[in-house]
């Protein structure tokens, strides 16, 4: 079995999505609050704290510079954590996947449903954040409305990357490694809180080549500032290709882990 063999999927995979949605809706208020509070905390800490000592970053006020980064980080965290820790619990502790594959659904469909659900969590996160940023007047409309569909694509990318780690993680504790060695560096070095042009060339090239969040930030910043980044199209293609690869890879890795 190859790591990149194309999965056979049917519409049944949405039933897995619906199962997760039903759980989510039961605890909607609990799920809603962190998505709401976190960007506010960052805005106050960085916007008013750091922002007051910085005039302009890349030609815009600091708060307008970091607003798109906060949305991008929200997208990344929502789907990545959904498809790592939450999926791991469903797979290993709750045996939810095992229960579902005893029905006509296949393991490929279960994982694909999980990935689509992870992407949906990113969309929900963005929908909750947009009004907050709109209220402070730090993102442009209507271009920022495109963030909603874009969140699904970017969310799917981080969901698929997360699912790859879930598939190879020997225990739920080892999922802390990708969190600290992958998510945290991306949080800091993807052109999020300071412009990539301030970094040494080596780090800048690394961020562009290997850190998915860099490309997500480039696209989101182009939309919230209504300002075309020269990298915009390259970033979009980068994200599409990476999403396809990790989507297929994560399904095959999970199949390898669960079907023995």
């Amino acid at each position: 079995m190859s790591y990149l063999s194309l999965p056979e999927l049917t519409r049944s995979l949405w039933k897995v999505w619906f199962r997760n949605k039903d759980v989510f809706m039961k605890t909607f208020m609990v799920n809603f609050i962190p998505s709401f509070i976190q960007p506010l905390l960052y805005l106050f800490a960085f916007g008013f704290g750091v922002g007051n000592s910085i005039d302009l970053m890349d030609g815009v006020s600091y708060i307008r510079f970091i607003a798109p980064a906060l949305i991008a980080v929200g997208i990344m965290e929502a789907s990545f954590f959904e498809c790592t820790f939450a999926s791991y619990v469903r797979m290993y502790y709750q045996k939810t996947f095992e229960a579902i594959i005893a029905t006509p659904l296949s393991i490929e469909e279960v994982i694909a449903g999980e990935l689509l659900w992870g992407a949906t969590k990113s969309v929900v996160n963005t929908i909750i954040m947009l009004p907050i940023f709109a209220f402070f007047g730090i993102i442009d409309f209507p271009s920022s409305l495109l963030l909603i569909p874009f969140s699904f694509l970017a969310g799917l990318l981080f969901a698929a990357i997360g699912m790859c780690f879930t598939a190879i993680s020997p225990s739920i504790d080892t999922l802390n490694y990708p969190t600290f060695l992958f998510i945290t560096p991306m949080f800091l070095f993807s052109g999020t809180f300071f412009s990539l042009s301030l970094m040494p060339d080596a780090i800048r090239y690394f961020a562009l080549a290997a850190l998915p969040l860099t490309h997500v930030v480039i696209i989101i910043r182009s939309l919230t500032l209504t300002r075309l980044d020269p990298f915009l199209y390259i970033s979009f293609v980068w994200i599409i290709i990476a999403t396809l690869i990790f989507f297929v890879l994560s399904i095959n890795l999970m199949k390898k882990r669960l079907i023995v």
């Binding site: 939810t96 229960a99 029905t103």
Partner: protein, 299 residues
């Protein structure tokens, strides 16, 4: 219903199921017995199409498990060994959400669920979260869930593991009821009393192989006899027994004498061999099981 020929499954170099052949007929209860690691669950998982076979033939409903998984799984009901109910949902929601996986329309599913909750006597608990159910209730709910799609074949993996006698008898009643309605059932169990009560036919497995196959009572009769006389093991008794033509076996500090005429044997032993304590009991499937799989501990 099920036909296996030279079916084989390996994990790396370890042979979990070693070229076994068996047939399960429509309407019967067929049991897989064996010590831990015998290959029972692996065989059941191949029947359920969740673990691919490596070699040999395995057909369920006349379809190949390697190519027709989706069709086969749609006609199967599976009660797993380990609880995998959804802890995020109530009893009722568990069944409703599971029914979606079988494409059962919601209206129809609601009717089926009402019936099934009555059948397993969980109607009063329908709004309880499954994490708050007792062990026996969880098993009953798993049985109800396995019946949602009105399966042609029911697969029960250790259906009464860890249950108290009351709950176990309830599950047995339900299995018997399902059987009387013409359902075909495949089950695996460690409990030989359970197998003897429920199974029309069974196989005893060990180390991935089928050691013996047959009907419970016929197996007992063929390999053990109807009764067993148990006596204390001492050298005098042993040498005395060797002079008679009895079929016997030494098990730790007891001697088992296999016979169809317990009264005669017991009297003879008491008179001629000067035995201290003698017990007569009916031979059970457990005696057949231990005869074939030995008394060595497994894990």
């Amino acid at each position: 219903m099920i036909e296996a020929e030279a079916l084989e499954k390996r994990y790396g170099g370890f042979i979990a199921v070693d070229k076994i052949s068996f047939k399960v007929k429509e309407g019967e209860v067929f049991g897989f017995l064996g010590p831990n690691g015998a290959g029972k669950t692996t065989t059941m998982k191949m029947i359920q199409c969740v673990s691919p076979k490596d070699f040999g033939k395995l057909e369920v409903f006349g379809m190949d498990v390697s190519t027709d998984q989706r069709k086969i799984k749609g006609l199967l009901g599976v009660m797993p060994q380990e609880n995998n109910l959804d802890p995020d949902f109530s009893v009722y929601q568990n069944l409703l959400i599971y029914s979606r996986y079988f494409n059962i329309p919601q209206r129809k599913a609601e009717n089926i669920i009402e019936e099934l909750l009555d059948f397993v006597m969980l109607n009063e608990k329908k709004d309880t979260l499954t994490t708050l159910l007792s062990g026996g209730m969880k098993r009953r709910l798993l049985l109800a869930r396995a019946l949602l799609n009105n399966p042609r074949l029911l697969v029960l993996d250790e259906p009464t593991v860890g249950m108290d006698p009351q709950a176990r008898h309830l599950i047995w009643d339900k299995v018997k009821k399902l059987r009387s309605q013409g359902n075909t059932i495949v089950l695996s169990t460690h409990y030989l009393e359970e197998a003897q009560r429920l199974c029309d036919r069974l196989v005893i497995m060990d180390n991935g192989k089928i050691l013996v196959e047959g009907k419970p009572l016929e197996l007992i009769k063929e390999y053990i006899g109807t009764e067993i006389v148990e006596a204390e093991n001492n050298p005098a008794a042993l040498s005395c027994l060797e002079k008679t033509s009895s079929k016997f076996e030494v098990v730790g500090d007891t001697i088992h004498v296999y016979t169809d005429e317990p009264q005669r044997v017991m009297n003879a032993l008491l008179k001629e061999c000067d035995f201290g304590k003698v017990i007569v009991r009916r031979a059970t499937l457990e005696d057949v099981f231990l005869k074939f799989t030995g008394r060595k501990m497994r894990d």
